[in-house]
Subunit: 294 residues, 2 copies
């Protein structure tokens, strides 16, 4: 089917929405010999097998047969997962990657297990998701035309980087390379900070305005603006706890902009307020060319 | 058609999206004898007549024939409009209302023209709109199931209040009463502040992050969150300039919440971060029960 070389045997550790969708995409692209699923939940594994997401239910020791291992567990499990990898005699030339939205914790877990970040570990971050979770929601096209960030460290092995990039490319994703620091900065700005801003606004309106019907007066813009405040509190708590320094810097920067804007209001400086709004509108419209409804 | 008493002759001053949609809705509900359109633009008036939005193109002096006068011009025109009303010999029992999203300027304009806010002036604010503007975009169902806030002052005449309420009810809108102060507070919180927050975030990302592709890494949540930053810079400049005190208070309150959140990050207090996110999610989900996709 595919003209690409096979990735060999791929093991997915954590067969949920992301891990399952990756397995489906790789099978669809015919770039794998077999997909082994490993998960604490036997139910998830059997469901994945039934759905054709994985070819085989694996035990932990089966990871020694994998050419590529994808860590797709919740962040909380990463320390024990990395320790578990260290306890195995992995295949020579094995490539390991992950799918986490913050990179600090997986690197810390790798360092704790190995004393360093192994050259064959290439952190990845697919920017895709959907409201439903679990392998039942997995879809082969989840990553199609979505950005996947492959992050590099100085010690990363080139061949391993190539394997992970090729894997994501096969899913139809748009693969980008960023340093770990740039990744955390860019995601902090475009994802972590907006979530915090939305959560804080809704909480403030609820607590301070003492108006039972406050939300009923909101127009469509408010609904869109606060949609991300309906995201998982646990997941976003973890993101905040794993990227606190970048987030604090961004929040402080944002606060200084609020102060500057209060000064514009004090001055009644319509010209500069309009210029600021226009610059923002242009920046956004330039990117979302088909999305100017508001 | 309707069992309701007629509003008599309704004059729409400013035949654009809002004024035109109101005219269409009132004609559809059969609660008007005739709709007179008054506008500086002859083109808009002829288009409105051709589309059946108005029954008659009126001159300024024709406002003396109206039972209800709706001011639907841009905010900037309100001072000369109110002065123009004062120069006419309006019908006894006339009721005048407006459709502005901030109420400070129309009240100031009325006070300048009349020395006080006349008892027959009832400020109104339909919370509805669409991206396209102009009478060509007018629709009879624009207000259907949308909130319309009718604001009251101590001096407001009860009968005038009743007429304006009945008018909006006939359009299918959900009519609420708020004091002017509550109106400005509620709209400041659910509309003006979110717009400022979105504009400032986009501007900050564009200016400070020095990353050409910053927006390309953003997921769907960011797109929704920043959609209102594509709104009209001129319109939102005017809103900010007309509601600065409330907006400054809300921004200061919001800043204090950002500071408190930075402290939670400093403390690594996952428990309170999660509790805050959960409270916000619950408040939002309780209102938007069918909108939990994020």
């Amino acid at each position: 089917m595919s003209e690409q070389a096979s990735l060999g045997t791929v093991a997915i550790v954590g067969v949920g929405l992301i891990g399952g969708s990756l397995a489906l995409a790789l099978k669809k692209a015919a770039v794998v010999d077999a997909v082994i699923g490993v998960d604490q939940s036997r139910g998830a594994l059997h469901q994945a097998l039934d759905l054709g997401v994985i070819d085989e239910i694996g035990e932990w020791s089966d990871l020694t047969r994998a050419d590529v291992i994808v860590l797709a567990t919740p962040v909380d499990a990463l320390f024990s997962v990395c320790q578990g990898l260290h306890d195995l005699d992995l295949r020579a030339g094995v490539v390991v990657t992950d799918v986490g939205s913050t990179k600090g914790s997986v690197l810390a877990a790798m360092r704790e297990a190995y004393g360093e970040v192994p050259a064959w570990f290439v952190p990845g971050h697919p920017i895709a998701g959907r409201e439903r979770s679990g392998v039942g929601a997995a879809a082969a096209d989840l990553f199609h035309q979505h950005k996947v960030i492959v992050t590099t460290l100085p010690e990363t092995d080139d061949a391993a980087l190539g394997v992970v990039s090729r894997m994501w490319h096969a899913t139809g994703a748009l693969v980008s390379f960023l340093s770990i620091d740039d990744h955390d900065e860019v995601l902090g700005a475009t994802s972590h900070l907006p979530h915090v801003l939305a959560y804080l606004l809704v909480d403030m309106l609820k607590k301070d305005l003492h108006h039972e019907e406050i939300f009923s007066y909101a127009a469509g813009g408010f609904r869109d603006f606060t949609r991300i405040a309906s995201s998982s509190p646990v997941m976003w708590r973890d993101v905040c706890l794993h990227n606190p320094e970048v987030l604090k810097r961004l929040i402080a920067n944002y606060r200084s902009r609020l102060v500057a804007f209060e000064q514009l209001l004090d001055d009644g400086d319509g010209e500069r307020i309009e210029a600021l709004f226009l610059a923002a509108k242009r920046a956004r419209d330039a990117h979302y060319q088909l999305d100017n409804e508001s």
